[in-house]
Symmetry: D2
Subunit: 342 residues, 4 copies
């Protein structure tokens, strides 16, 4: 941590900061410039942070130097992590296509879509049984019945299941079906939930909050990793900006930046960011070309009949062509689709 003193800071104020740093066993390195003095504090980050030096007399600014995350950091593990889910690899040179309906609605819709995803070379099957909805009056998912249908879809197609858990009290049930537990953007900083999923050991797909910084995303991942669960997939799904011409701004710069900061795989969700079908293909190609480790996308046999988010779902009919085109974009970034084609 670097403590930048104000231009007019007195020698006493400087000494007082140095003394305070040393109370927690850290070392202080002052650099006296012509205009300001900067004091480096070297020692345990948490201890130094607790000193609350931001408010101290004569202190202008406290600049953190070390990253606050550890287990998620590329420094600890310079090679990319590869998470394996029933034979499908996510990360490294592998590209994953995770697809399915936004919400599990009926047996036909679920099983039918799973077959489409399988046939097109999809890697995993996604579908929501518990749905976080902005309105308390909107459909909240089929719950347990939805989980049962997902289990059936897996039994029929062999595709591993990705589904969301939004309440720690439902986790046990979700664990019976989910190969990957999705943590929604609204729950990215639901720390008790993160810790429980960490303790479960089950692979987790952690969505970035709509206004979470990349550092906050990595800190949220750290909550899971800290419990001994190394299988975290990060997911960019669009951030909130001033633009109103579309729903969220898909942050594809996050892909190469996360690759520099962390060893964890990075998945992109173009469907929720876009909010409408016509944008999903160009954004998927862009994500794959940017070096993403996979895509999680919504597909539905009859989107106009979907209960939830129909306008953004791809249509089953063209799905195989879509997958092929995304494969070509991934190839430009040096990645190969991880699938067990039917």
């Amino acid at each position: 941590m670097m403590i930048v003193m104000k231009a007019g800071a007195t020698e006493d104020q400087i000494q007082s900061v140095i003394d305070r740093i040393e109370t927690v066993g850290a070392r202080a390195h002052p650099s006296r410039g012509e205009e300001v003095t900067v004091i480096g504090a070297i020692g345990d980050r948490e201890h130094v942070q607790r000193l609350g030096l931001e408010g101290y007399p004569g202190v202008e600014q406290v600049v953190p130097i070390l990253k606050p995350y550890k287990l998620a950091s590329a420094q600890i593990r310079p090679t990319p992590s590869v998470v394996e889910i029933e034979g499908r690899r996510i990360g490294g040179e592998h590209f994953s296509m995770i697809a399915g309906p936004c919400t599990v609605e009926t047996r036909d819709q679920t099983i039918g879509t799973a077959h489409v995803v399988k046939a097109a070379g999809g890697s995993l099957f996604r579908g929501g049984a518990y749905k976080p909805r902005t309105s308390p009056y909107a459909f909240q998912g089929l719950g347990q019945e939805g989980l049962r249908l997902l289990a059936e879809a897996k039994a029929e197609t062999g595709l591993p299941i990705v589904t969301e858990c939004m309440d720690a009290r439902d986790l046990e049930q979700v664990l019976e079906v989910a190969d990957v537990i999705q943590i929604g953007a609204r729950n990215m900083q639901n720390y008790p939930l993160l810790a429980e999923i960490g303790r479960s050991g089950r692979p987790a797909l952690l969505k970035r909050g709509a206004s979470a910084t990349l550092e906050e995303l990595l800190m949220a991942a750290e909550y899971i990793l800290k419990e001994g669960n190394p299988n975290v997939l990060l997911c960019e799904r669009g951030i909130r900006t001033f633009e109103t011409a579309y729903r969220y701004t898909l942050d594809l710069t996050a892909v190469p930046v996360l690759k520099e900061l962390t060893h964890l795989p990075v998945i992109v969700d173009p469907s929720h960011a876009a909010g409408r079908r016509s944008l999903v293909t160009p954004l998927s190609l862009a994500a794959a070309a940017a070096g993403a480790d996979g895509i999680i996308v919504e597909v539905h046999p009859q989107p106009e009949e979907a209960i939830c988010d129909g306008p953004q779902a791809l249509v089953s009919d063209g799905f195989a062509d879509y997958v092929e085109q995304v494969e070509r974009a991934a190839a430009v970034a040096g990645k190969v689709l991880s699938s067990v084609r039917a």
Copy 2:
């Protein structure tokens, strides 16, 4: 809901939208302009929304007309709600001063601060026992022991208690002590938690998420109200913007706008927005003058020794002067401090 058709939409596409609207029992009112046709859909909002008309052929845009919240709406209740907490009134012409430490740390710090708050004319006492922290390595609060100290502070001073609950599984314990349950910004869209607090019937202080729109804040309040709990206090605590010269941008425009949209009281938290003490007084005065129904502010006997957020805490010593100045600003907006002065 208004469905705006594309400039080149065909008569068939227009008719198809009209037919679809009528399938859910709603009425369709087309207005044919020189350039575009707009179709009004009149009927049950949820049914119409489920139609997913955004993706329909020929549709340019779907514009919602009615507000999606009902119980929170000023339309349903045009006069301001006043919430009463052990004789202190919040809302209407009453101004509340909610103050205390960020975190409950020790008995002395807690009881001592409560006496300072009481003496200065504070309305309620705040203090965190469960703390959501960005880092899993940071201090997470004293938990149950913290709740016990808060109970003691209430017993000594008579001040009602505001404290956060961040996990539905802790709610029962929190209910034993809290007169008002705080829902933190990170949990604003933790719907299972909102519903549980709704069912508890206890007054709730709902903080706006750092990038939640006012509509989303009101929808989150609706989750609580819908369970039959009318006692919701909304709290503006700063939104995330591009500016980096301070922590969050305190959105004081939200105060008069919420006054137009809802009957619920609006509290402002200047401490978390500012992140440093020197900004807290001007922002408090501004919030009071803008017409806020109260302020929730951090105060600490020795902020430089605080475990958490010390740099933003006011110092106990000057607290009475601060309250007096805020009272004068509230008076400009026509409000009177709601307190039982020692």
Copy 3:
């Protein structure tokens, strides 16, 4: 335009809005719903807008229906515009590689880089003679001497020149050299400058302001088009968001959205958004795969010696490989590089 009345609006208020709409010769179409009344105003947009109905008694909201831009609109011209610059085509199925140094510094650097760009298959050569700099103490460009060096680069390589004009009083000089006049992000709403460039008839590359909406970008283009200059290239170069892990958030969703809204070509500048070299290649691939009509990128023989923005410049040595990789990404989106290879 749709005028949404408040829930409690009286019949008199509704009639008064209708009367007012008719004063400017427009027609009013009221739709009376169960909860609110919506009035469609059909007629000249500018006239109706001037009515200022937002403030009228009983009015809740005024919702514009028609796009405010005309000449830029895809409605007026449903097929993509192709701009031709000395044999290079921009737009449609053509992909342009516009490359060169941020700033013209010396004869060797300028001519040397131009040869590198030419050899790699670049379409146009970019270089700044007038530089808008946040600090008045920073290097502001070589000015006229810079223009002279650009002219020499063109004479040597045949590459058309893209260079910025930031003051209408310099336009005449810039026109002597520039095949395409760049309008920087800070000047996107410098209307007198836009109009002058419009009157000049010279092709313009209009950069999106760091917080301009796509509608504002198109309105700025409209200022140029309105003067009879149809040759406008739009340029996405990153928007300002809350994220601090990199410089600007490159908005690649803007690419397919602009393709729906306008016929004008869309260029992407990955260099300024990224701010550092390691992000430029993945972002370039993403932009090409998303369907951009070209890229404008910075390249320098020795970036570590560059006066300005060296950290984001690609190195000349690897530039040909870079172009080849971007070509492959553009091919996935169905586009072919427009170049006259050496």
Copy 4:
């Protein structure tokens, strides 16, 4: 400037950064921590910045320590600047009420409003003759005729004039009438215009761009100050955020933060931020209570007839009451209205 090296930076890389810093005559102070090395560079800021160390091998991050602005800085001048305009003082303990119509429309409207402003105790009169408009089809102001009407208003009431200049080529004319030249938000980074206004020596009211950081605002002020013109008034007028329930987010945190960073007076424009009349009074009170040095507000005899921005204009009739209420809020912050009451 502090150069933070990567965790795995080699001794050679560290030495190479040190050598490079010394090439421009600056001194390098390395601090070797357990995890990373930080190198302080002490010397001329511009020289060090040009080194482009962000891209250097082994460099993680470059952290600027000194503020990039000088003349605007509170360090250079720790007491507030007071700008005097024909006997009205702006800054220090003085509070200014700058009011008038958005746009000069007619003789009656202009002179009439000026009398209202004068009678209510207004400090200066504002009115636009040249109007930057998002649409090229919107009314662009009366131009020279508008300036003439402003001159007449001043002759009649004695109120000094604030009016915008948006093109350096119009400056000479504007100088004939304007006591304070307004620089609009869209032109905050129009550097040639800033420099010309700087050279004119006339007091300038510089509006913050809708997405300009406070540092960028101060750098823009620096462009004016650098030309020898010390009379710069900063103006906060709302920033662009994700919120859509109102037009811009008025950033009142900027007021106390600017007070810490600079000696220049800070004015707040609540009208453009709010976009509608009902929000203008609460935001004005908030701005005054936050410690602003003045307010610039729109007032119109018949807002519903205004050509431009009518919905946000206060009505002449209630203007005197408004001024009185704002005066009371300013008093809470220790300021007194600077006016020559009729």
